[in-house]
């Protein structure tokens, strides 16, 4: 919402400066986004007289001028403008002045050997227009030495206020002035509109077919007007706020819109046939609107029609056919009330923004419907002449007047603000509220223009914002009974632990979009209709991600394309298996590319190859361990989801049903579908699936039991079918004597020459931990025999000679 300072002062008597007014506006909730003060910007540019203009001795196109600036001795200025001549009045800038058009600060200098002590400027050099034909020429009576801005009418600062959606009343200068007057920064002038007596009945009938969309519609004819360009003051005012003057009748409607937040419409009465009907549009009806575009309507939209058809789109924009031109002699002035939600919906559907829509969808003052029409009539009569008809009012102005029971202590309860009763009454009254009663609870009636005020809290806001938030004292907030208690949930703790553990494993945390392309979503088990956005911002950001893998894989490829092929990234974030809250899970996904192994990335003198399934497995187990999972309780099952290499992937499970994680190398077909290159090793842990730790009564750990007997290590090498999983051999060895076998590790694996085809050699180290006495050689041999036997029975492995 833009307006000029002089415009504001038509409504507000004040001695306050521009800065004071702007600051106050911001501090009462009318945030000033910009102040354009040409008078200040152009202050160094003053009126001067050119006494003489002689040809420059060393340049044909330059002149050496003597310039009288109004303070003392004439100064010498070198000027290249073709229109510089003796006797003219011009605009002068001293050395040191910043020239907006060139961006430079003016210096005393010699131009082709002749000193120049300033500059005679063009409009472009001052940054006020594109005109650079020559220097500005002022009338002969321009006051010497005075600022140029004042003479040019550029000295009226423009304020641009961001009006919040609840303050429809401040979409007019008058409303802004009222708010300022409540702060005692100035006095609101009496702007009461006097009714204008009609000289004849309005000949055009109005019928409202749809009162829910149009509660009231006031209309008046003014006959015998002379339309044409509006007067200079009005044109200048509209231009200052960025509007284009059209003609007096149209300019008047714009003025009332911005002065009183009351949009109006004017019809050329000669072009209206029959009475006006306010009704729903018929499907497919169209209108060529005043913006030159044609709109097609549906039956939810409200229009004003006559016998010719639709003439205006209610509350948003008039039609070209019945619009006022310089030829208009009889004008119909409309002031109506519209359904805000309907206006908003229609404007959105049709994509029309207008100053009228902006106000009607926020809610105009219903009580000002007829006064607004009277105000416009007054201006029409003043600027265009003519004879007014009586006003015809269809429908009825709705009763406003919400009355609120307001306990005076409410400002202290909600805002912590100590106030005097008198202050509260003064503020509310200044804002147009009526306060009645004298007890601890008073009755407050809201003015018709404050449709946003519903209850006590709104009144507290009015009081606090006008008295100033700085009056609310800082009040320490006690820590309360939650102090010192842990505040994170188990899932939150795991999320943090997973991030730190993966970063500590050399991976870099990324945050990627929650949405991916449909094709990618489908590739990773998603892409269902309930997770597809209806209005995606781009086609590759259309579906909620079922996995973090595609986002990270593509990110790694982008890094590789930039010259960083050996990178490890991770993300801990949400994935979506459906659209219900419980379908959203937290995944911790780690992905390594190229040679980005945990022990180091890239080629190195110490050797190391490409990332593989075991790097992925290590990341998954690291994450699970960091989240408090006991690793020895987990099963590793060969094979993973279809996007992973079937022979180089696995799942980490807790029992047969709970899949905590998957890991592996990406399937070649996945790489191809994503258009990326590997090798890529990935693990994805679903943090929600990790079971909660049992809460224990005591934090004390179980007692440490140490065996006094030395552990014994025995090695076994087995020859076994290639397809037998190492886990089976380990499991068998552990099961051979659960009391004695404390650990089993694989320390050698061999396939190839010297081994029969289809077989592999696998060597395990078994740790025996005696608990009651030192083992004899015979006892050790017995256990060893049991281990060999058990492994053979379970896996068909034979001990190598």
């Amino acid at each position: 919402m833009k307006f000029t300072l002089s415009w504001l002062k038509e409504h507000l008597e004040t001695d306050s400066s521009l800065d004071e007014i702007a600051d106050k506006l911001t501090m009462i909730g009318l945030e000033v986004e910009r102040v354009e003060d040409k008078a200040r910007e152009l202050a160094p540019f003053t009126v001067a007289r050119v006494i003489s203009a002689e040809k420059h001795p060393n340049a044909d196109k330059l002149k050496v001028c003597m310039v009288e600036t109004g303070d003392g001795q004439p100064v010498q200025v070198v000027c290249g403008a073709p229109n510089a001549r003796a006797g003219m009045m011009a605009v002068f800038a001293r050395p040191g002045t910043h020239i907006p058009g060139t961006g430079l600060d003016l210096k005393v200098g010699a131009i082709r050997g002749v000193e120049s002590h300033g500059m005679l400027v063009s409009a472009r050099e001052m940054g006020i227009s594109d005109d650079h034909q020559g220097i500005i020429e002022l009338p002969a009576n321009a006051p010497l030495g005075k600022p140029f801005a004042a003479i040019a009418g550029l000295d009226d600062p423009v304020l641009d206020v961001a009006v919040t959606p609840n303050r429809a009343d401040c979409l007019g200068v008058h409303g802004i002035a009222r708010d300022l007057s409540a702060t005692q920064l100035g006095k609101l002038k009496d702007d009461t509109v006097k009714p204008i007596k009609g000289e004849f009945p309005c000949p055009v009938a109005v019928k409202i077919e749809e009162p829910s969309l149009c509660p009231a519609f006031a209309l008046r004819l003014v006959r015998g007007v002379k339309n044409g360009p509006s007067p200079e003051w009005l044109q200048r005012r509209l231009r200052a706020i960025g509007l284009r003057p059209i003609n007096a009748l149209v300019d008047i409607t714009n003025l009332v819109t911005f002065d009183r937040a009351r949009p109006l419409h004017v019809f050329d009465a000669a072009k209206v046939k029959g009475g006006l009907v306010v009704r729903r549009a018929k499907k497919g009806e169209t209108l060529l609107a005043l913006d030159g575009r044609s709109y097609e309507f549906d039956t939810d939209m409200c229009v004003i029609a006559d016998e010719n058809g639709v003439e205006s789109l209610s509350g948003i924009m008039g039609g070209e056919a019945s619009g006022c031109s310089e030829a208009t002699t009889d004008v119909l002035i409309e002031s109506a009330l519209w359904n805000p939600a309907n206006i908003a919906q229609t404007g959105r559907k049709l994509g029309i923004s207008s100053d009228a829509r902006f106000r009607f969808e926020r809610g105009v003052d219903p009580a000002f419907t007829v006064p607004g029409l009277e105000f416009a009539t007054k201006l029409v009569l003043e600027l265009c002449g003519g004879k007014p008809s009586e006003i015809v009012l269809a429908g009825a102005i709705p009763d406003g007047g919400r009355v609120i029971d307001f306990p005076l202590a409410e400002a202290r309860r909600l805002a912590g603000l100590e106030t005097k009763v008198g202050e509260i009454k003064r503020v509310l009254t200044a804002l147009g509220f009526i306060v009645a009663g004298s007890g601890e609870t008073v009755k407050v009636a809201a003015p018709s223009w404050r449709g946003d005020v519903e209850g006590k809290a709104d009144l507290v806001e009015e009081i606090v914002r006008i008295l100033g938030l700085e009056r609310v004292p800082l009040t320490p907030f006690e820590r309360g009974e939650n102090g010192l208690r842990p505040v994170l949930t188990a899932l939150q703790r795991r999320t943090r632990a997973a991030k730190r553990a993966l970063a500590a494993s050399g991976l870099v945390e990324a945050v990627t979009w929650s949405f991916i392309s449909k094709k990618q979503a489908e590739l990773f088990g998603g892409g269902g209709p309930e997770l597809a956005l209806a209005n995606p911002i781009a086609t590759d950001l259309s579906d909620m991600r079922p996995s973090l893998v595609p986002g990270l894989a593509l990110a790694l490829q982008r890094n590789a394309d930039r010259g960083y092929p050996d990178i490890a990234l991770f993300e801990v974030g949400q994935i979506f298996t459906g659209d219900r809250p419980q379908d959203q899970l937290v995944a911790a996904t780690a992905m390594r590319r190229g040679a980005a192994k945990a022990s180091g990335a890239g080629r190195h003198w110490s050797g190391l190859g490409a990332v593989d399934v075991f790097d992925a497995k290590a990341d998954a187990l690291t994450t699970l361990a960091a989240c408090g999972m006991a690793i020895d309780k987990l099963q590793i099952i060969a094979g993973g989801p279809s996007y992973l290499h079937p022979g180089r992937s696995g799942a980490i499970q807790l029992g047969p049903k709970i899949v905590l994680a998957v890991f592996g190398e990406l399937h070649p077909a996945t790489l191809e579908a994503l258009g990326i290159e590997g090798p890529l090793a990935v693990s994805e842990v679903i943090l929600d699936r990790i079971p909660a730790a049992k809460t224990k009564a005591s934090k004390a750990k179980a007692a440490l039991v140490l065996s006094p007997f030395q552990p014994v290590l025995r090695d076994f090498a087995f020859l076994v079918d290639r397809g037998v999983a190492a886990a089976e051999i380990i499991h068998a060895a552990k099961g051979a004597d659960k009391n004695l076998v404390a650990a089993v590790d694989v320390f050698d694996l061999y396939e190839g020459k010297e081994i029969e085809a289809g077989k592999k050699s696998i060597a395990i180290a078994v740790t025996l931990q005696p608990r009651e006495k030192t083992l004899t050689d015979a006892e050790i041999d017995t256990v060893a025999g049991k281990i060999v036997e058990e492994v053979k029975k379970r896996t068909g492995a034979v001990l190598r000679a």
């Binding site: 202290r412 991030k499 945390e509 309930e530 982008r558 801990v572 979506f576």
Partner: protein
């Protein structure tokens, strides 16, 4: 006599000349072994008369001791030489560069770090962390938060929608973390003190907007908390978060459908020289919105606004991260460019705490 001297001289010469342990052992066996030359001499002592023994004994024993000592010394010499030789052979180039350790390569994203910082500060004030789903219903994202249907305030949210279901329900991506306020008030009996960090979405994209971003909101509901407490909490937070001894804040009235009164908060800063410093300067920078929870919102959560009251605030996590750590642009937060992540990211073990300081 002369024989002894000659034998000793021969043996000592041989010991000195021995070039390795094997040769030395041969010499030792030849002299001091069972049948060694000195051992043989020692055997003769038994056959001597006491007088002879008294004279010969010390000479033979002396011979034995001196030869034995010479062998021991020679053995040490040879060992030292061998060690010295091996040390020369073992030499490596210690200037060879190592791989960066995992702790040096890994980095935490600024968003995670800042969430941890915010959590540390508010946990100390007795706040819990609440979370909610990204996919929300119209009720939780708008209606319960007092956005009237069709109101321009709704339109300003640039909402991402899902396709309507057969029953007409249309889910959406939450445009703010405020739905978590509703979910919390529905499920927790006051007093309530929570902060709600999370991802939020708006279909908007330019230099300063991304379709996905992070917000954190705070909510306090009890029977006494008012704007004075809110101002205090936010000022304490800003001092702790920006790690400055004092900040100057400005509270301006504003409008949000879900709070009444509503405020926006500016923080004073100095923007000269291309970086922002808080606690000094003459510029105001808007950092958050807040207010007293709107009575309609309380009613929507079945709380009586005459009995319960409280406040809420919300701010952009990415934005305050940018302000604190100086990232000039929002978009790279989500581009996963490892150069950016390594530059602006944090070390894995730099866990923000109030005890140790939020940042180094």
């Amino acid at each position: 006599m002369a024989d002894f001297k000659k034998l000793e001289a021969e043996l000592l010469a041989a010991i000195t000349a021995a070039e390795d342990d094997t040769r030395l052992e041969t010499i030792r066996v030849a002299a001091l072994g069972k049948k060694g030359s000195i051992s043989e001499l020692l055997k003769t002592l038994g056959t001597m008369t006491p007088e002879e023994r008294k004279q010969e004994g010390p000479m033979i024993n002396g011979l034995r001791d001196r030869v034995s000592e010479a062998i021991t010394q020679k053995r040490d010499t040879l060992k030292r030489a061998a060690t010295a030789e091996r040390l020369v052979a073992d030499k490596v180039d210690v200037t060879l560069p190592l791989r960066a350790s995992a702790l040096l390569r890994g980095h935490i994203h600024p968003v995670s770090q800042v969430i941890d910082e915010i959590t540390a500060i508010f946990a100390d004030m007795g706040f819990s962390i609440a979370e909610g789903p990204d996919i929300e219903t119209d009720f939780y994202n708008f209606t319960a938060l007092n956005f009237p249907a069709g109101h321009p305030a709704r339109e300003m949210h640039d909402t991402f929608f899902f396709n309507p279901k057969p029953d007409g329900e249309r889910k959406l991506l939450r445009t703010h973390t405020s739905p978590v306020q509703i979910r919390t008030m529905e499920s927790v009996k006051p007093p309530i003190r929570v902060i709600t960090p999370g991802r939020t979405y708006r279909c908007d994209s330019d230099q300063t907007h991304t379709p996905m971003f992070h917000q954190v909101e705070g909510l306090v509901i009890d029977k006494t908390s008012h704007l004075g407490h809110l101002k205090w909490i936010l000022e304490e937070f800003c001092k702790a978060f920006f790690e400055v001894p004092s900040v100057k804040m400005r509270f301006r009235p504003s409008f949000f459908p879900f709070t009444e009164p509503s405020l926006e908060v500016d923080i004073q800063c100095d923007r000269r020289g291309g970086e922002i410093r808080f606690g000094e300067g003459n510029d105001w920078l808007e950092i958050l919105g807040c207010g007293m929870v709107h009575p309609n919102v309380l009613r929507n959560c079945k709380l009586d606004p005459n009995e319960y009251q409280g406040f809420a605030w919300g701010m952009g996590i990415d934005r305050i991260a940018m302000l604190k750590y100086g990232m000039p642009d929002l978009r790279p937060f989500f581009e996963a460019d490892v150069r950016w992540l390594e530059h602006y990211g944090f070390r894995p073990l730099d866990f923000p705490t109030l005890a140790g300081g939020l940042s180094e």
